[in-house]
Amino acid sequence: MVRKSRGAVKAFKWTYLALVLAFLYVPIAVMIALSFNASVSRAEWTGFTFDWYAKLFESDAILAALEVTIEVALAATAVSTVLGTLGAIGMHAMKKGWASLLLNLSYLPMTTPDIVTGVSLMLMFIFMKIPLGKGTMLMAHIAFDTPYVLFAVMPRLKQMNPNLYEAALDLGCHPLKALYKVILPEILPGVVTGALLAFTMSLDDFVISYFTSSTDQNLSMVVYSAARRGVEPTMYALSTLMFLVILALLLIVNRRSSLEKM
């Protein structure tokens, strides 16, 4: 019985997975298609157009949000890459007890629901009387980005021969110099992956930004407020662009990390 139906079993598996894939991607595909639809209505296709994309770049609000998004993402990536990489190196050299304490602390923002992270940070900024804007958004982004960098760098450090650093010292290297001459080149692939991941997460974030900034909006926040008002084709165009950028970044990250595992 098993042999004969093997082909059928395989076909069933493929069909099932294809359906799951369709469930996940058809809505996105439809939205991308609609972003090129000349009609404002979702109900009919009246021709192909780039108008909505053109409108996107005419809107001051969207351009401002784009600027905020990229500024925050770049700055958050830079800071969290440095913090996270140094953190990983330090934790790697630490005694077990302290390291596991710090590791648990790093898991905390990943296991806390986004909304709680968002409101708690908002509370703190209000408590410290820092106006909610680009600056607070940036600080919040650094807070949730840094663990991603840390967790991308840690495995590289663990794989590294523990004697490498000592070998550099042994050959006359000053500890700080050994850090960038030996350790950094060893863990660089992890650092780059971590930075890419941090950048993606920052571009991608909505909930935490929503709570930690009120004067400045990022792109996700623009989409949210527009979506609450109803559907708008320019938003389809904006979403499409964001999807494509994020997808490309994710594929690069994924490729990097699967190459590393080999």
Binding site: A167, D170, L171, G172, C173, E186
Partner: protein, 358 residues
């Protein structure tokens, strides 16, 4: 040749990791140009001791003196000591040349005896070339580390350390990852290199044969304590206690009682021996090497027994002989078939008496 000056002195070195004490008040001196081996089973503290000499660990108690000066505040990168690490620890982002040149690149031109940066580059190239020749790896400059075999990586690791002209080279189980044949070849080469360069080697291994082959002095460690220090032959022939006897080579270890000077009773039989200075009727450990047991006729043997098993070992046969009270391991070039009755005798010189461990 080993000189009499004491290059490194360890005084009362103790070290613990999280509640477990790995070194108990170690005293040891290392002479100039000596090939000294720290030998012991895993966990005996030999690597920790080496790392303390290298400056990678600080002792909880005790001092490390280098030519009489305390090294406590000298970091690894300022010690005139270089290390060949376990699994080599080569820098995989650098090629062979840059790995070897790593230490030299960190030096000022003056330290290399030249004036300009350009001369420094040339000097480095010259020294790296010389090292590659020493380790028989000429022509490999541009290779990446991943392209090398284990044995080749080993050679590069040695060259990388030696190019800095250290006074002492520390080697942490450097041959551990190589296969048997390559290991034997490298043993000979390492010993030759040490003699040619005239520097001190401190070598860590758990392989007793390796230790005996290469060293001027062997330090046997167990449980964080020095068991015995001595020349290889002395350690082999006169193990100080049952642990050393058992760890170095194969041996028959049994309990005995010293009846008087040069007379020990074991298994109910009195044997002549050459040891003196024990109390009358003091219980002792007796060690007899398998190759020191002579098979003789059943009627003339000091002990008699039945051959239980015979294994051919290449040069000799290894036989287990049961005398009723004990099974003896015997090495002999002539074979006695299993089941046959044999006599055994041991000459006084080959009976090693050791005080019982407390």
């Amino acid at each position: 040749m080993v000189q009499d000056t004491r290059l490194i002195e360890l005084k009362g070195i103790s070290k613990s990791f999280d509640d477990t004490q790995v070194l108990h008040s170690i005293d040891l001196y290392i002479r100039k140009c000596e090939f000294i081996t720290l030998l012991g089973p895993s966990g005996c503290g030999k690597t920790t001791l080496l790392r303390i000499i290298g400056g990678f660990e600080t002792p909880d108690e005790g001092q490390v003196l280098f030519e009489g000066a305390d090294m406590a505040n000298v970091p690894p990168y300022r010690r005139r000591i270089n290390t060949v690490f376990q699994k080599y620890a080569l820098f995989s982002h650098l090629n062979v040349f840059d790995n070897i040149a790593f230490g030299l690149n960190l030096k000022t031109p003056e330290a290399l005896g030249v004036k300009t940066r350009r001369q420094k580059r040339e000097e480095i190239a010259r020294r790296v070339g010389r090292m590659l020749k020493l380790v028989k790896m000429e022509g490999y400059e541009k290779r990446s580390i991943d392209q090398l075999s284990g044995g080749q990586q080993q050679r590069i690791a040695i060259a990388r350390a030696l190019v800095n002209e250290p006074e002492v080279l520390l080697l942490d189980e450097p041959l551990g990852a190589l296969d048997l044949k390559l290991r034997k070849e490298m043993q000979v080469e390492l010993k030759a290199m040490q003699q040619q360069l005239g520097i001190t080697f401190i070598y860590v291994t758990h392989d007793q044969e390796e230790a005996l082959t290469m060293s001027d002095t062997v330090v046997v460690l167990n449980g964080g304590r020095i068991q015995q220090i001595g020349e290889p032959k002395r350690i082999y022939d006169e193990p100080k206690n049952a642990f050393v006897a058992d760890f170095i080579g194969e041996s028959n270890i049994l309990s005995g009682i010293m009846r008087e000077d040069c007379l020990v009773e074991m298994l109910g039989v009195e044997f002549q021996c050459v040891d003196e200075g024990f109390a009358k009727d003091e219980p002792v450990d007796v060690v007899v090497r398998p190759e020191d047991v002579m098979i003789v006729g059943e009627d003339v043997g000091m002990l008699t027994g039945t051959v239980e098993s015979v294994i051919f070992k290449g040069v000799h046969y290894e036989m287990m002989v049961n005398t009723g009270a004990m099974r003896w391991k015997v090495h002999s070039t002539t074979m006695q078939p299993a089941g046959s009755r044999v006599g055994m005798s041991i000459v006084p010189f080959n009976i090693h008496i050791m005080r019982k461990e407390a």
